[in-house]
């Protein structure tokens, strides 16, 4: 006996009505899928961390994919020490420095060098996202101490994220999904960090933290969409890159360092309040009415853009970036990454 014979016609109609549902929101579905897979990655990495072998000096040269960034940096430090003696000590000492510390440029330089030693795209994505995590942590630490957050720190976070996304587009779908999950995990952590930092932020830094958080949320949505639609994601990232090439006339191989957002001497402590338009230079109270140096301001996509790209070309994540190598070829690799994958 089929179950439909057990139901009265009226009851059967009611159950048939209850089966009628509108289509599921694909965006919410993709977000749920991304969160599930991100949680799985986190749990798996927690298992891997527990299985880590005992650390000894020789392990520095045993490169494990998930620790490649720190292993490489320490290897560079060790090599620097052996060759240049005290310089290696300096390099090691710089690792915990914040953007307003004197050895911070050494720390950044080591990051750039470590990227040169890597040839695997997935590892590079991992390294870049670890670096963005470091940037977010630096911003959090500075906001906790009430110090100004240099806009260059935010800019670097954005550029490193952008580079990671760009590398992801060069991968085949399975590897790209893996990369996007790594990026999604990192971006969510950073967004939470910005939220916490906002709680203790001074007026000077609150706007920058808010803008950074908005940028991270935009990127999270982009990654979630990418997990649902890989080809759409590739097109979106390529279009963004093309738009940036059209916006800036000169290449951006280096990173500029705009002055930090710091309180004025008279204690007014006003941070430059950008109006969201690229190229604006608001006056900073306490600077005798002079215009503030140009600050990275988020554009409509939530990306931080340097409103006045330097002519000497020093505005990329690391020296080997070829992101602006020319118009994108829809059928080929867009460059910028290490050529880890071929387009289908």
């Amino acid at each position: 006996m089929t179950h439909s014979e057990e139901l009265s016609p009226e009851l059967k109609d009611l159950f048939d009505d209850l089966k009628k549902l509108p289509a599921r929101d694909t965006r919410l579905a993709a977000r749920g899928r991304a969160l599930f897979l991100t949680e799985a990655v986190s749990l798996r990495e927690a298992v891997s961390a527990r299985a880590k072998p005992r650390l000894n000096v020789w392990n520095i040269f045993t490169f494990r994919k998930d620790k490649f960034a720190m292993n490489t940096i320490f290897a560079v430090i060790l090599a620097t020490t052996l060759i240049f003696g005290g310089a290696g000590t300096t390099a090691y000492a710089s690792q915990d420095d914040l953007p307003n510390d004197p050895l911070y440029p050494v720390k950044i330089g080591l990051e750039d060098i470590s990227l040169w030693f890597n040839s695997d795209p997935l590892t590079e994505v991992n390294m870049l996202m670890q670096m963005t995590q470091t940037r977010a942590q630096e911003m959090f630490s500075l906001s906790e101490t009430g110090d100004g957050i240099p806009a260059s720190t935010t800019l670097r976070l954005e550029l490193q994220t952008r580079e990671a996304l760009h590398i992801a587009t060069t991968l085949e779908d399975p590897e790209m999904e893996q990369a996007l999950l790594q990026i999604h995990n990192a971006l969510q952590t950073q967004e939470q960090l910005m939220t916490q930092a906002q709680l203790h932020a001074t007026d000077d830094t609150l706007q920058l933290l808010t803008q950074t958080r908005a940028m991270l949320q935009t990127r999270i949505r982009l990654v979630e969409d990418g997990l649902a639609d890989p080809e759409g994601f590739r097109n979106t990232v390529r279009n963004e890159s093309q738009n940036r090439q059209g916006q800036f006339a000169t290449p951006e191989p280096g990173i500029s360092t705009p002055p930090a957002i710091v309180p004025a001497d008279n204690g007014t402590g006003q941070s430059p309040a950008g109006n969201g338009e690229p190229g604006t230079s608001p006056t900073v109270p306490g600077n005798n009415g002079q215009s503030a140096p140009p600050q990275p301001i988020p554009n409509s996509n939530g990306n931080f853009e340097n409103p006045n790209p330097p002519q000497d070309g020093n505005d990329s994540v690391h020296p080997k970036s070829t992101e602006n190598s020319g118009p994108a070829d829809p059928g080929g690799d867009n460059g910028g990454g290490n050529g880890g994958g071929n387009k289908p």
Binding site: L7, L11, L14, L18, K20, P22, F36
Partner: protein, 178 residues
């Protein structure tokens, strides 16, 4: 596409590809199940998230189903839905999106009212009756599948079904829907 018996051993190792396939295979059905019983997209999405998160946790602990994954997922989902029934549910969402077969706003309004009445009636059944009725008449499970999901003998499933239908008839008669 791997089968459930291929995927489960990989899922025990938290293999991303296997977990992704499992999610793609079962999450649509779990969403529909939750949506039919709760009538709220946010809750339905939350039900899916909680169900699969619990699956991850139990796999991470080295436990979890070695077979009949679908039954396990429906069981977890239904337990979560039952918990929601015990709380004050948020208002049902009256989506303007037309399900298949509905063409006018008037038909959509009538559909929403009828759906709400049946959901209210189902919520007044016991948890076991709710589950049997939902799996039988909304998910079109056969009695063997229902027995596997509820971990009850087939005889008990049939008895629950009979009592649940009688209760539903009475409740809906009061609303003059049957």
């Amino acid at each position: 596409m791997l089968t459930e018996s291929d995927l489960l051993p990989l899922a025990l190792n938290l293999d991303s590809n296997a977990l992704a396939q499992i999610y793609d295979l079962y999450s649509p059905a779990i969403y529909r199940y939750a949506m039919r019983l709760l009538g709220n997209t946010s809750l339905a999405e939350e039900c899916v998230a909680e169900t699969f998160s619990r699956l991850l946790q139990i796999l991470h602990a080295g436990k979890g189903p070695r077979e009949h994954l679908q039954a396990y997922l429906y069981r977890v989902a239904h337990n979560w839905i039952t918990d929601q029934y015990r709380r004050e549910l948020p208002a049902e969402e009256l989506s303007e999106m037309m399900p298949a077969g509905i063409e006018t706003p008037e038909e959509l309004s009538v559909l929403h009212i009828r759906q709400a009445h049946l959901r209210e009636a189902i919520q007044q059944l016991t948890p076991d009756q709710q589950q049997v009725i939902a799996l039988k008449y909304l998910e079109d499970f056969d009695n063997e599948e229902i027995a596997r999901t509820t971990r009850k003998p087939i005889g008990a499933v049939k008895a629950l079904q009979h009592r649940a239908l009688a209760s539903l008839q009475r409740l809906l008669l009061e609303k003059e829907l049957v």
